[in-house]
């Protein structure tokens, strides 16, 4: 298969690279090698609908077995690539990837879609049973089983994953405490007004939120966690702990290949790495982003995985299609549907439209009068308006934002 493409990593970006190539008529062999046993699936519902029992593993599959067979896309599951060598510069020697089980795959093109791993705690007691992370399907299946018998859940980390898991646990009637080390929730992404809204919204639903709470260790009995210890000397009882403190990009293979990395595999707007035979896409990459004023960002989102993978596929097929997509994100927490379009970092003005106390509002972010982003809570109309404005390179008059009698209109 030395004329073919090897995709290492079996998630959303992997499937998109393969599907986009087939849709464009590319006929060389494609092999996807992924560590997980399941067919490639959607990850976002794991902390939302799947955990809440509203979606099953089958419904998460991105494509069916027969789709892959029909399109000539080989999907090798449960295999971890540990060694990789790039093709020779003169094009004579193919690249080779070898799995931990000793299976070798030759390739002409390599796509790294290896994703990221959850950041792990390394504290006294952090290997006790009942302390869980949430990244893949098996994590989610374990957590779902544990939630069915848990009484007191402590969530460490007040970001999206943590808050989504907290919302599911609380909706089951469990005692839930969210511990966040910073002074506000989701601080990396949203304005203080949105952080404060989410703190109040979770507390209204009966979840305790403790900010500035620094975890120093865990207490256990018979190998199982019983409480979380905080730096202020207090403890919070827990029979289940969910840790959601961010992810670390998987860079081992990129480093073996000598690719430029900077908290992610550095790619350009065509998803090209610093090696001509290697593209990369998804959570493992960092790129100078058109919606971040050219600053280098590493986005963890389906949108980024999909759009970057499309650029990667175009590059492999010999076309140049630059990445120009508007970033967008969503988070479902109980009845709160958050939709974000754009990147708000660096904003100087945040305007609130609607009524946070009614759990239906949006926040529009500006810098120097230019529209950057929206966080829309149960306000899809505002989200759609901003997403369209950003995609068209337009803005929305800040003077009109707070006037609820008029719809947001791009100008």
């Amino acid at each position: 298969m030395s004329s073919g493409l090897l995709v290492v990593g079996g998630g959303q970006a992997a499937v998109q690279v393969a599907c986009s190539l087939r849709e464009s008529g590319w006929q060389s062999p494609i092999t996807i090698v992924g560590e997980e046993v399941a067919l490639p699936y959607q990850r976002p519902p794991l902390s939302k609908a799947f955990l809440a029992g509203k979606a099953d593993a089958d419904s998460l599959a991105l494509r069916s077995d027969d789709y892959f067979a029909r399109e000539g896309i080989e999907v090798v599951r449960g295999a971890r690539v540990t060694q990789v060598t790039a093709p020779g510069a003169d094009g004579t020697a193919p690249g080779v990837a070898v799995t931990s089980g000793g299976r070798a795959f030759e390739f002409a093109h390599l796509a790294l879609t290896v994703g990221a791993s959850p950041r792990r705690l390394s504290l006294s007691g952090s290997d006790l049973l009942g302390i869980s992370y949430l990244r893949d399907l098996s994590d989610a299946e374990t957590l779902k089983r544990d939630l069915a018998v848990a009484k007191s859940v402590v969530v460490i980390g007040g970001g999206f994953i943590g808050l989504e898991a907290a919302a599911v646990a609380r909706a089951r009637g469990l005692h839930v405490t969210v511990l966040e080390a910073a002074d506000r929730l989701i601080g990396r992404v949203v304005a203080p007004v949105v952080s404060e809204f989410y703190r109040e919204a979770h507390e209204r639903r009966g979840t305790k939120v403790r900010l500035g709470a620094s975890v120093v260790g865990f207490e256990g009995r018979e190998g199982r966690v019983t409480a979380v210890e905080l730096a202020d000397g207090t403890t919070v009882p827990a029979d289940l702990v969910v840790v959601g403190i961010g992810v670390v990009p998987r860079l081992a293979l990129a480093e073996q290949l000598g690719l430029e990395c900077d908290n992610g595999i550095v790619v350009d707007e065509y998803a090209r790495t610093s090696h001509p035979a290697v593209v990369a896409a998804g959570d493992c990459t960092t790129t100078s982003h058109p919606f971040a004023g050219g600053a280098r960002v590493r986005l963890e989102s389906v949108q980024n995985a999909v759009d970057q993978a499309k650029c990667a596929a175009a590059t492999i097929a010999g076309r140049a299609e630059p990445y120009t997509s508007v970033p967008w994100f969503w988070s479902d927490q109980d009845t709160l549907k958050l939709q974000i379009a754009g990147l708000s970092s660096g904003f100087d003005t945040a305007l609130v439209r609607g009524r946070p106390e009614e759990e239906k509002f949006s926040v529009l972010y500006y810098r120097d009068g230019q529209l950057l982003a929206v966080d829309a809570v149960n306000s899809p109309r505002d989200y759609m308006a901003v997403r369209r404005a950003l995609a068209a390179g337009r803005t929305i008059d800040p003077e009109r934002v707070t006037d609820m009698s008029t719809a947001l209109t791009p100008v």
Partner: protein, 106 residues
Amino acid sequence: MPTIHYICPDGTRRDVEAAAGLSVMEAAVKQGVPGLIAECGGAAACATCHVYVDEKFAAAVGEADDIEAEMLDDAMAERRPTSRLACQIEIGDALDGMEIEIAAVQ
């Protein structure tokens, strides 16, 4: 299993036999039916699975809720009375034989 007839933006027709319980979006995407993007995977968060449903099945399909209706109002393609997000329609025997026209832009 119910069969759904998809009419793709380029005019081609794809018939998909779908397990009851899947959504109209999932049944299409898993088989690679072109035209549906469905980036959010069925969370009614992205409005990229905009379809027009067969009027004969309108009652069986039901109406969009408020969130979905707001998304459709601002979707990229024309909003029609038959507009729905395919991820919000669950396939059952009552939908066997339904035609689904995929909106040209998502």
